[in-house]
């Protein structure tokens, strides 16, 4: 059935999160923007406790897509639909702080999506302890971004261990996952450098593992509250069972595909985060215009609108379209509808929308919009990351194009 009725449980939680966003996140947003690399413990601890005391529906790292053979139990899950709403609202509060939300993140999402039941039990348990714990995903290398097949970090089997060597950059939350809390990082590495993408596997590297060091924290355009780390692995040994996936998968490229499935879950969630920023900017724009006595009239033909009305209406439509694409993608994940191009579509549209909306909002608010007196200029800076991480807008276009055309990466690169 086609329905746009928000489930009551989600709606209630969103209202609770809105209070956090308004009362805690917004007031702290500027401070952490100006004090890069300071850790927002107050937010982190608050969120950890809130998530601890909340029921399972509010988890920030829900169970990943279930194995196909797992029987359906009761009602279809709405976990990811809820998550998209929560992520949107937290990012509306502040995207930098949102990225400091404990309990998982991308690392946990990868374990959820690609891990065996044993791996899930072992690695995800830590997020439910007394203290906040983080996890992260380490893919990018200095010379390999979107081209993941070109990564040079190696994993060599030595007895019942893997020995990892290499350098990872742009690890979101890497410092919090490895240094500040007893979390883990999912490291992508190749077990056969000649095999290209088929040789790529992902490994759980836990905090405190000898040979794994955080060597640098980046200084960024935006989301400054979120640490972006460089991680170096030098003869870093992890147990054999820390390779994500089953033994069978380990022998084939299924392991790689399994990890790629993570993105079908996380891309719409990045989209949701982008759209929280976009909504914040658009609301601010409309609010300031209203303060200036300018109301948007709906229902007019183009030739009867002011340019300002036309601009705002276009931005509103863009935001709605992007949000519904995001919602559809997470709905598909929850309902186990196979994702084809929809996850990347949502990411393309959300990335475009947030960049456009924040840029336009500043333009339309003139000198005031450009001032650091307001958070709008911060949102403009925060926005851009959404067109970059978890696949740039271009990579996602490539993915959508391949899927709709039925092309392999050889046929369309």
């Amino acid at each position: 059935m086609i329905s746009f009725e928000i489930p009551e449980t989600i709606e209630k939680t969103v209202t609770m999160i809105e209070a956090v966003a308004t009362e805690m996140m917004r007031p702290q947003a500027r401070y952490y923007d100006e004090h890069e690399h300071e850790i927002p413990w107050e937010y982190i601890n608050f969120m950890h406790e809130a998530l601890q005391s909340a029921d399972g529906g509010v988890s920030m790292a829900p169970e990943g897509p279930k194995d196909e053979d797992e029987p359906m139990l009761g009602k279809p899950s709405i976990g990811y639909q809820g998550l998209a709403h929560y992520v949107e609202m937290l990012s509306w509060g502040d995207a930098g702080l949102y990225l400091c939300t404990p309990r998982g993140g991308l690392g946990a999402a990868a374990v959820s999506a690609a891990g065996t039941p044993e791996q899930k039990a072992k690695f995800l348990k830590r997020f439910n302890g007394d203290k906040a714990v983080f996890s992260a995903m380490a893919i990018t290398e200095p010379h390999a971004g979107s081209d993941t097949a070109a990564i040079k970090t190696t994993a060599v089997q030595d007895g019942d261990e893997w020995v990892l060597n290499g350098e990872k950059i742009f690890v979101t939350g890497g410092h919090k996952s490895l240094v500040d809390t007893p979390g883990f990082v999912i490291v992508w590495a190749t077990i056969d450098p000649d095999a290209g993408r088929k040789g790529i596997r992902s490994f759980v590297v836990e905090a405190g593992t000898p040979g794994c060091t955080v060597t640098k924290l980046e200084k960024k355009l935006g989301i400054r509250c979120s640490d972006t780390a460089t991680i170096v692995m030098q003869d870093c040994r992890v147990p054999f069972e820390n390779m994500l996936g089953t033994v069978e998968q380990k022998k084939t490229s299924e392991g790689y595909k399994g990890v790629l499935r993570t993105f079908e879950v996380t891309r719409p969630l990045v989209g949701a985060s982008a759209l929280g920023i976009a909504r914040a900017a658009l609301e601010f724009l409309v609010e300031k215009l209203a303060e200036g006595g300018f109301e948007i009239r709906y229902g007019l033909p183009r030739n009867r609108m002011t340019n300002l009305e036309a601009e705002v209406i276009d931005l509103e439509a863009m935001l709605r379209s992007a949000w519904l694409l995001t919602l559809r993608a997470v709905w598909m994940v929850d309902n186990k509808v196979p994702i084809n191009a929809e996850a990347s579509m949502s990411k393309i549209k959300a990335g475009d929308a947030v960049v456009k909306i924040t840029q336009k909002a500043i333009e339309l608010l003139g000198p005031m919009g450009y001032s650091r007196e307001h958070l709008l200029e911060k949102w403009f800076r925060d926005a851009k990351i959404n067109d970059l991480y978890e696949g740039t807008g271009q990579i996602n276009r490539l993915i959508v194009a391949r899927r709709i055309l039925g092309y392999s990466r050889h046929e369309l690169s």
């Binding site: 928000i6 709906y298 276009d314 439509a317 519904l324 709905w331 959508v400 055309l405």
Partner: protein, 360 residues
């Protein structure tokens, strides 16, 4: 709960409409556009699919319940086949559904069955006006009370089958409010002009109609006009048509790009083309979801004015972008009338002004 999948019943209907759209509408579209005529059998066959009849309760001669979502799904398929044909098949809906939404019990019982129970007949709406800045909220066609009757004066445009219409549901401003009046075509003062010559939808005969102090009884005015809901329903219909037309152009361009070779490979293997297609697909899906959301709000009895307006605004933008790219991807061939993409591009431009010609 959110849901993004039509019901089984809706899927069956969509499937039936799709077969008609492909085998009948699409097959006839080129010839119809060139000759400026839609074969009556073609319209009748589309009418017999029963999309409108299924939207009208039994009490008024139909066999179902109105659902804007279902209507939007069907409209998309029809427009995928051919926009002129879609508008022809749907034209009586603009009349009957407006009555269903806003007529009194008596008006519904009197006005709807003649539309629904027979073969397709041109009961149509006279909504659009010819001025460049036509705005539903400020119609220039006016109705004034006169000795217990109303006198309607003004000019209408884009009236489908105006020359042969049984009756015109004429929208006019009454003391600044939008009202609708069932006007017999042979009423004194109604003058149907020469058939309009348009950029697109050339197979659909549309006419300007002039009203010169046309006197109708008070009972001709639909008693419960809810302008917000009526406009939302018009906007959703036009939006859904825009989605269907977009999908037609997108699919055609995609197939062509996989076939057409340049520099030794299909042009779809070039990012310049592939990215265009990816964006077309993304925009169409987003625009469709907005149309669905507005339609769902209408069905839920929610205030859908703004969402329907935004949905059409976005869909009209999308259909122009997509059909333009449809021509672009075919290159020079796209400009030749042997391919449908130039027709779709012409048809697309009109959708921002077609609200009022069809309803879901």
């Amino acid at each position: 709960m959110f849901g993004f999948e039509p019901t089984e019943e809706q899927k069956l209907l969509v499937e039936a409409v799709r077969r008609y759209a492909e085998n009948d509408l699409r097959a006839a579209a080129h010839e119809a556009d060139e000759s400026g005529e839609l074969p009556p059998d073609l319209i009748e066959k589309g009418w017999e699919l029963g999309v409108l009849q299924a939207s009208v309760p039994e009490a008024y001669g139909g066999f179902g319940e109105r659902s804007a979502v279902t209507g939007a799904l069907a409209a998309e398929e029809l427009a995928w086949g051919d926009l002129s044909g879609a508008l022809a098949v749907m034209a009586p809906g603009a009349y009957a559904l407006s009555v269903l939404l806003t007529g009194s019990e008596d008006q519904k019982s009197e006005l709807i069955p003649p539309v629904i129970e027979a073969d397709w007949k041109p009961y149509v709406a006279a909504f659009v006006e010819p001025e460049y800045d036509f705005h539903a909220g400020e119609m220039r066609t006016t109705a004034v009370a006169s000795n217990g009757d109303y006198l309607i004066t003004g000019r209408k445009a884009r009236v489908p089958f105006g020359d042969s219409a049984e009756a015109l549901l004429t929208f006019a401003s009454l003391d600044g409010r939008i009202e609708a009046f069932a006007v017999p075509t042979d009423a004194e003062g109604v003058q149907v002009g020469e058939r309009e010559q348009l950029l697109g939808i050339q197979a659909l005969p549309t006419f300007p109609v002039t009203f010169d102090k046309v006197r109708v009884p008070a009972s001709a005015r639909l008693e419960g006009m809810d302008a917000s809901q009526v406009l939302a329903s018009f906007n959703v219909a036009a939006g859904a048509l825009a989605i269907g037309l977009s999908r037609a152009a997108y699919e055609y361009a995609l197939d062509y790009a996989k076939e057409r070779e340049a520099f030794g490979a299909p042009i779809a293997q070039k990012q310049a083309i592939a990215f265009m297609l990816a964006e077309m697909a993304t925009e169409i899906d987003g625009a469709r979801l907005m149309v669905w959301e507005a339609a769902w709000e209408i069905d839920q009895g929610k205030e859908a004015f703004k969402s329907a307006y935004l949905a059409l605004s976005n869909a009209a933008e999308t259909v122009m972008m997509v059909t333009d790219r449809g021509v672009q991807i075919l290159g020079g061939h796209g400009y030749i009338r042997e391919h449908p993409v130039e027709r779709w591009m012409r048809n697309a431009r009109g959708l921002s002004t077609f609200a009022g010609m069809a309803m879901v």
